[in-house]
């Protein structure tokens, strides 16, 4: 059975039992349910699907959401590539219906192919600024995903170049993402659509597929 065949039923199952979005939050919804469960799929570098869980925390007068998003690309090897993003987010500013949200995150990633396997540590910071009503919202998105360090274990590349060396390497660079987020909230459910374009941090060495899109369904409880 291919991953595609496994992933789609899994996604449907997740949706059926009530999961929800990634770390997307509609701060204006008025609801203060403690738990956010999400399922998402999209295209970013490659096609992927994922689940996430977030927990609403109250620190003094400040509301925060801490959570984790786990994404897997479609493909025949279910777990050889993945991304785990753990974040904390909060509204920094609000004036009228407009709000600025900041979300710093720690990113762990794994990539494996016949050539090599990479385990990566990185950091991501996202900012959303836009108009948010209880039932819907629209916001501009800016994020920077910085890869910090990667452990590389070579496979076929050793055949081509026996002197290639495994180990930790400084990757120390990243990609920008510019986009927009639309969201719709009804009762305890939310839906988020993100679209945009990403660039290498020098705006020259860009990802092969420049566009990204993600659709997320979220349940609050």
């Amino acid at each position: 059975m291919t991953t595609k065949n496994i992933a789609l039923p899994l996604l449907l199952l997740i949706l059926a039992i009530g999961p929800a979005p990634g770390q997307d939050v509609n701060w204006a919804s008025g609801a203060r349910d403690k738990n956010l469960l999400s399922a998402s799929f999209g295209a970013d570098y490659s096609s992927y699907y994922g689940i996430s869980y977030g927990r609403l925390l109250q620190i003094g007068k400040k509301s925060l959401v801490a959570g984790t998003v786990f994404t897997l690309p479609f493909g025949s090897d279910l777990t050889d590539d993945w991304r785990l993003l753990t974040s904390v987010q909060t509204e920094l500013l609000r004036h009228g219906g407009f709000a600025l949200t900041l979300k710093p995150a720690l990113v762990l990633r794994r990539y494996e192919s016949p050539m090599a396997a990479l385990f990566n540590v990185g950091a991501d910071v996202s900012a959303l600024y836009g108009y948010q009503k209880p039932g819907w919202g629209a916001a501009a998105l800016l994020s920077y995903d910085r890869s910090i360090s990667a452990r590389i274990t070579h496979r076929l590349q050793k055949d081509d170049y026996p002197a290639v060396r495994d180990g930790w390497y400084h990757t120390r660079s990243g990609n920008f993402r510019f986009g927009a987020r639309l969201n719709y909230t009804r009762r305890s459910w939310g839906m988020f659509l993100i679209i945009g374009k990403h660039y290498g941090q020098n705006f020259r060495d860009n990802p092969t597929f420049p566009f990204f899109a993600e659709l997320t369904l979220q349940k609050r409880f």
Binding site: K4, L118, I148, S149, W168, Y169, G200
Partner: protein, 315 residues
């Protein structure tokens, strides 16, 4: 600890092999303003057979079996093209402007000039993929200088043809492991401009063309030294901007050309071979059995006798 430990990806020789600019022990020659990785086998007075690799940005490692022609009366010359393989890296600006493709033709002309002993020494070209396109560009410019050519699956002889072929051979297959293997690492090795890093990352793209079920019929990985990522990227961008047409003068080349296509490349086939080879007045089409696009590596057993027969006829 993760922030402080580790090695720079650009440290010479750690992730990609040293080039002739970094390792003087590698065989090389200073040609047309750059240093090329180059080797020659056989009697220098025999007819010259210049082997031209694919890409752009590939190298001749998977074609090195062609040194066998040196045992059959040919002086076989290999070279890694400008900025590719073990040849010296060059700045991206060298591949900009309307004359970028012409620069590669000039390099080939200079390679021939470097190894050719006399005007009477016959010159044969053996090109694969982009190398067969480049060979055609050379023949189009210097038809009287070439005694014959073996061309294995040139994508096209104009940019329009080539882009049509690439749309079939590189067709994106979403939801596949092959796509992940090619591009997922771009979020880990991201936004780095150094050539060594770009070359290293480009090697992951071979996962796509050689993945199980690939369109071009490769049964697996084939050897290479280094992907010349900058040369590849810049030349493709250059072709998109300026285009090229290697057929404008091909009717002047009346000699027979051995035009080969592979049995297993579903993006090529006999009909595309007929289309691409049409501007050659003397094209002889033959199918190489049991292989896909990497004809000289995976299809050597069938390729070699066909090519040798042709070359001996033309010698």
């Amino acid at each position: 600890m993760l922030l402080s430990c580790g090695t720079e990806m650009t440290e010479p020789g750690r992730l990609v092999p040293l080039t002739v600019a970094e390792d003087p022990a590698l065989p090389s020659a200073f040609i047309n303003g750059t240093r090329l990785h180059t080797e020659a086998f056989g009697n220098p007075d025999d007819p010259l057979l210049v082997v031209i690799h694919g890409g752009p940005g590939g190298d001749y490692r998977s074609m090195s079996g062609a040194k066998a022609f040196s045992g059959h009366g040919f002086y076989v010359v290999f070279y890694d093209q400008r900025g590719s393989g073990l040849s010296k890296r060059e700045p991206e600006s060298q591949y900009a402007g309307e004359n970028a493709v012409r620069l590669f033709i000039d390099d080939l002309h200079a390679v021939i000039g470097h190894y050719r002993r006399s005007e009477n020494q016959k010159v044969f070209l053996l090109g694969h993929s982009w190398g067969a396109m480049l060979a055609t560009g050379y023949i189009n410019l210097y038809p009287s200088q070439v005694a014959g050519a073996v061309l294995a699956e040139p994508g096209g002889l104009t940019w329009r043809q080539t882009s049509e072929y690439l749309s079939r051979s590189n067709k994106v297959r979403f939801f596949t492991e092959a796509l992940n293997d090619a591009v997922f690492a771009e979020q880990i090795i991201a936004g780095r401009p150094e050539h060594e890093v770009l070359d290293y990352k480009a090697a992951f793209f071979t996962n796509y063309e050689n993945a199980p079920g690939n369109v071009i019929g490769n049964p697996g990985h084939y050897p290479s030294w280094r992907s010349g990522a900058v040369a590849f990227r810049a030349l493709i961008a250059n072709a998109e901007q300026y285009g090229f047409d290697f057929t404008t003068n091909l009717r002047a080349f009346t000699r027979e050309v051995l035009f080969l296509y592979s049995e297993n490349n579903r993006a090529y086939g006999a009909s595309w071979a007929a289309t691409v080879s049409a501007p050659y007045p003397g094209a002889r089409l033959e199918e190489v059995a049991g292989c896909g696009h990497e004809v000289l590596y995976f299809g050597w057993d069938d390729f070699f006798p066909r090519a040798l027969r042709y070359l001996n006829e033309m010698k």
